[in-house]
């Protein structure tokens, strides 16, 4: 984030919500993620006009419409490409990329790896419910291989994608996992992710009550990870080897320098895109 963007007058979480009312299913974890995101922005005293919330497609990708910041509801799987372009063109903005597990890890899977690798100073929040909710409940990349449903009888039989492992291996500079049932803990993690330099990734376990009612049980499974965050990628990798997917907390605080445009020359001016589109 840009440290110069703090508000002079205190704003509260509701100031970061738009007048549009969410149409998520009652009971959806994304309501609490919206609470946590707005609380994090209020706590950081960000000016809404200095923040852009970007998304792809899916239930969770509706979130930009529910915030009072700038936002862009993009095409499927391309939220990270949009966010990267925006941050590079407008480094003064705090860019928060949002979406779900299907959008981020399947349709946008390749963008995910390369966004981690590039380490542009953006925050990526994935509301992971292990299902494609918007399109009626197909298995997603993070779905358990034995999840039996009408659309995947007997399960897919395919090992799930492990977002934190992939992010770490690809070079993400901050990794955390949160649970929507703990909005305060989630807000704290989002806040830290926004302030941490470089590419920050927060995987939020956000239950889908409609297609995965079994995820109601997550509140009994989730636990705070018993170890402190590390700056050592090898140590973080070892911890992930024994991770069952329900440990929450900050796993990794990397120390890589974020990507900067024109790193090899002295120019600090941003590219004047506007002039290229003048009619």
């Amino acid at each position: 984030m840009n440290q110069a963007t703090a508000c002079e007058t205190a704003l509260v979480a509701s100031d970061y919500k738009s007048g549009l009312k969410p149409v998520w299913c009652p009971g959806c974890g994304d309501y609490s993620v919206l609470q946590a995101l707005t609380k994090a922005m209020a706590s950081l005293a960000l000016k809404p006009e200095d923040v852009a919330v970007i998304s792809g497609i899916g239930c969770s990708s509706r979130i930009p419409a529910y915030t009072s910041t700038y936002g862009f509801h993009g095409v499927h799987g391309r939220s990270l490409a949009l966010s990267t372009g925006l941050k590079v063109a407008r480094p003064d903005l705090t860019v928060i990329c949002t979406g779900g597990d299907g959008d981020g890890f399947s349709i946008g899977g390749n963008h995910f790896m390369h966004a981690c690798r590039r380490n542009v100073d953006i925050t990526y929040i994935v509301m992971d419910n292990q299902v494609y909710g918007m399109t009626k409940g197909q298995a997603s990349p993070t779905t358990d291989p034995f999840w039996d449903s009408a659309l995947t009888p007997g399960g897919t039989g395919i090992s799930p994608f492990h977002p934190l492992v992939i992010a770490l291996a690809s070079g993400a500079n901050f990794l955390a996992r949160a649970f929507s049932g703990d909005p305060k803990g989630t807000a704290a993690m989002i806040e830290e992710a926004i302030t941490h330099p470089g590419f920050s990734f927060v995987q939020i376990l956000s239950p889908c009550v409609t297609y995965r009612p079994d995820q109601k049980d997550w509140r009994n499974k989730v636990r705070t990870a018993p170890v402190e965050a590390t700056a050592d990628p090898a140590r973080a990798a070892r911890r992930l080897m024994t991770d069952d997917g329900f440990n929450t907390g900050v796993l990794f605080r990397g120390e890589r320098e974020p990507f900067k445009l024109n790193q090899n020359n002295d120019s600090t001016e941003t590219y004047d895109f506007t002039s290229r589109f003048e009619v």
């Binding site: 609490s32 449903s149 049932g181």
Partner: protein, 175 residues
């Protein structure tokens, strides 16, 4: 998960600011729950949540009157962040379902009021300032009265009402 610790409330101003935030967040949450139910055409439950929101708002206004000569508004936002996962009286979005009945909604409201009564009773034992302790005890008592009020409303909705979890038209993706 966030630890269940109690805030350091050393003065009556701290306490009033805290209570105001508790009531405001509870009122906002009930209003949001009402909107969620409205969006799914469950108007009976939406109305109940809206009524609960109004009650919490009245409570907040009462606290604001008590604090008329105090400057509560300038406390930093972080001061209002809960030491619990959410505000002591705030409903959990995860407990909603689009088919929930008025009885289920009232049971949820009862749970929230009971949670708040317990929270303030325990807070009263933790704080040292006698004024703050007295107010925390008073808050616990008021929340207990709300539990009794919800219990009276519950009499209008008998237990044999069908459960919301029995969806006769389940989502196609479920097995």
């Amino acid at each position: 998960m966030t630890n269940n610790q109690y805030p350091k409330l050393e003065t009556i101003t701290d306490m009033l600011a805290f209570v105001l935030a508790v009531e405001n967040e509870a009122s906002e949450r009930y209003a949001e729950m009402a909107e969620a139910m409205d969006a799914h055409n469950n108007t009976k439950v939406a109305k109940l949540f809206r009524d609960m929101s109004d009650i919490e708002e009245l409570h907040a206004e009462s606290v604001q009157r008590q604090a008329a000569n105090l400057n509560l508004g300038e406390l930093p936002v972080k001061e209002y962040q809960w030491t619990t996962p959410e505000g002591p009286e705030t409903g959990d979005f995860a407990d909603l379902h689009y088919l929930m009945t008025p009885r289920e909604a009232l049971l949820l409201a009862r749970h929230n009021e009971e949670k708040a009564a317990t929270y303030f009773a325990e807070l009263a034992e933790q704080v040292t300032n006698p004024e703050v302790k007295s107010m925390a005890t008073e808050m616990a008592s008021e929340e207990r009265e709300h539990v009794d009020l919800v219990d009276k409303w519950l009499l209008e909705f008998p237990e044999d009402e069908s459960e919301w979890i029995e969806d006769t038209d389940p989502p196609v993706g479920q097995a």
